[in-house]
Symmetry: C2
Subunit: 418 residues, 2 copies
Amino acid sequence: MTRGTLRAEIISIGDELVHAGLVDTNSSYISQQLGALGVAVQRFTVVGDGPDDLQDAIAGACRRADVVIASGGLGPTLDDRTREVVAKVLQEPLRFDDDSWQQVLAWFARHIRTVPDSNRRQAELPQSATALANSVGTAPGFRVTVHGAELFVLPGVPREMKVLLADHVLPALQHLGALQPTAQACLRVMGPSEALLGERLGEFMLPGRNPAVGITASGGMLSVRLVGTADSEAAAATLCEQTAAELRPMLGEWLFAEGLKEVPELVLERLVGQQRTIAFAESCTGGLCAARLTDLPGSSQAFQGGVVAYSNAAKLELLGVPKALLEEHGAVSEPVAAAMAAGARERFSADCAIATTGIAGPAGGTDDKPVGTVCFALATADDSGSTDSKAWTVRIPDLGRLSVRNRAVYEVWRTLLL
Amino acid sequence: MTRGTLRAEIISIGDELVHAGLVDTNSSYISQQLGALGVAVQRFTVVGDGPDDLQDAIAGACRRADVVIASGGLGPTLDDRTREVVAKVLQEPLRFDDDSWQQVLAWFARHIRTVPDSNRRQAELPQSATALANSVGTAPGFRVTVHGAELFVLPGVPREMKVLLADHVLPALQHLGALQPTAQACLRVMGPSEALLGERLGEFMLPGRNPAVGITASGGMLSVRLVGTADSEAAAATLCEQTAAELRPMLGEWLFAEGLKEVPELVLERLVGQQRTIAFAESCTGGLCAARLTDLPGSSQAFQGGVVAYSNAAKLELLGVPKALLEEHGAVSEPVAAAMAAGARERFSADCAIATTGIAGPAGGTDDKPVGTVCFALATADDSGSTDSKAWTVRIPDLGRLSVRNRAVYEVWRTLLL
């Protein structure tokens, strides 16, 4: 393997992924983690638990690639067959790995449960494989050489997969020593369409450019991702920063955040850093702002609480929105948004509060206020300490209810990061 | 192609999927749609825009399968290469399809935009391909026979892919007429571990059984999925119902819902059917119950609103929890949960209200109340119409903050479905 030419593939295994509508998120996560080490993934394969298809997929990936990361099919039940299938590809028997079994027993002991006999299957490995300890679940992973490729097999549960990837796979790839030092940067953008942003940044996105610049869209936000490679991580980071410095003036007001962390994390860090507390008054976002912020450990340092005021009665009773405002302007209006934010700030004794009220669809749109019309307000303290509430309206393109709601949540994050 | 043996594969194409962390949701959607027609998909491949990898992936899938549905790589820019690569696999040239070009022009005319020259590429097709009209975007799809397989190539944008799949692919598959009628059923279970449930249902999960029975875990809930095949859909449904009837007594109190719909949808249907309104008082679930219910169109028929009462002050001020209760029992206690639910029911004038208060972690656990301890309460009207609030505690295994929160949300759904 020469520097920077490591070929990698990813396999996600499970009938539930191929047939039952469960979306494979493991491959994308693994690819991102490998990318950060400078390993470019060529292909993902998603395959069911059927032994013939699975055998063909594993053997094919191991023939094409230098490194294959597979996840799934390590559970205790008979429909989990990855161990047997890898052994079959290798034409070798399974062995019972007592160390792994002791770890399974210890896991159950910590969780005060008796061990079902079927869990013994989880301690079986192909003869030539090395077990990869699982500190957060019962299924150990394993590592084995197949058709000249290094194959890592991890549990399919995302939480366990992530731990084993960090504990075993990423360090092993670094030991392989053939990696090109890389650095990444990410600029978060709201406002333009993906096509418009693509035209604006066209010259930066040509193949072969270093750092590589790519645009991805998710939830109404665009991410401009930079991946630079150089002889050292520091040099790669410098390349990324040079390109970021060229991009910033081109992005202008569209740019609202930078950094590899997820946006809600950046928001929480900002609030905690400023020692500001926050509350939400959510109508059309229906609790999403509160849910995404409280996904994060430590969110109670900044987050006081929120009201999901779906009905008009709730806006009146719980946020003190004057009935006259609701009657005169309607629930989706800037005066009502301003009153909701002010009400939330005062009731939760928070430093600031944000309100959302809008039409997420599919029903409820009118000519004046089509689906996608969302009013926002930010309430803060004015110089005298009383509440000052500013409202504004965004017309979000109606690409479906979930899209409108997600885009509205990002407008909240953008407001808090500006 | 004989009845029921149609082999199908799906390919999703794009560098953003393989490298940039964008999750491929197209494959899962297409697989579900094909599954409903009785076409079982064997494999998904996700591959970048690089021509060598793409050519290998397309040729491989067409050799293995009878039907291949690919999406992506049909855009106007030079890094979209699916048309050229399919032509190369077929060893034939591209032709300019004037009908497709007229459709691209008409699309731009409707959207009052000038046509960039680069869009002419979108009207090019492999010589032997048939264009598939796109009524919602600029990129036409195409259909062509490759290595004996029927290959359908669709745009990668999910909204456009879905329209072309419905307009062209599903009708074509029905014309192929070789489909095995199938039916599905799903039983939702909470309580046992996956391994324990697997042991209980072991005999049902043996390979080759019809209906096939599989277990999948997500968010603290287990789903037992049945897929039956027969000479008619009705006969397949009868097979599923026979197996479901055998499974129900084995699942006992673990079983809390049935049906192919997502659990929050079942909850909303139940509430709307009973003409009951609901409110939430959420502490540890932080707005997740409200967010998941309001993801659904029509949720305002039942959902009045919620309070995310993260701080003690919020429990006091917005839900009227007596200070003495908080001081005597602590925020995570059954008396406080009961008071939260009662407060939410009254303030939102709802028929019922559910409260959650617990320790999601990673911090905050004690010997008495370790991480994962969650108190719930359900407030309803008693015979006299005043509020009756019942509380209970669940010790959720501490498998991480998100896991505890998700499992707590399912406990709420379970309560509403029993």
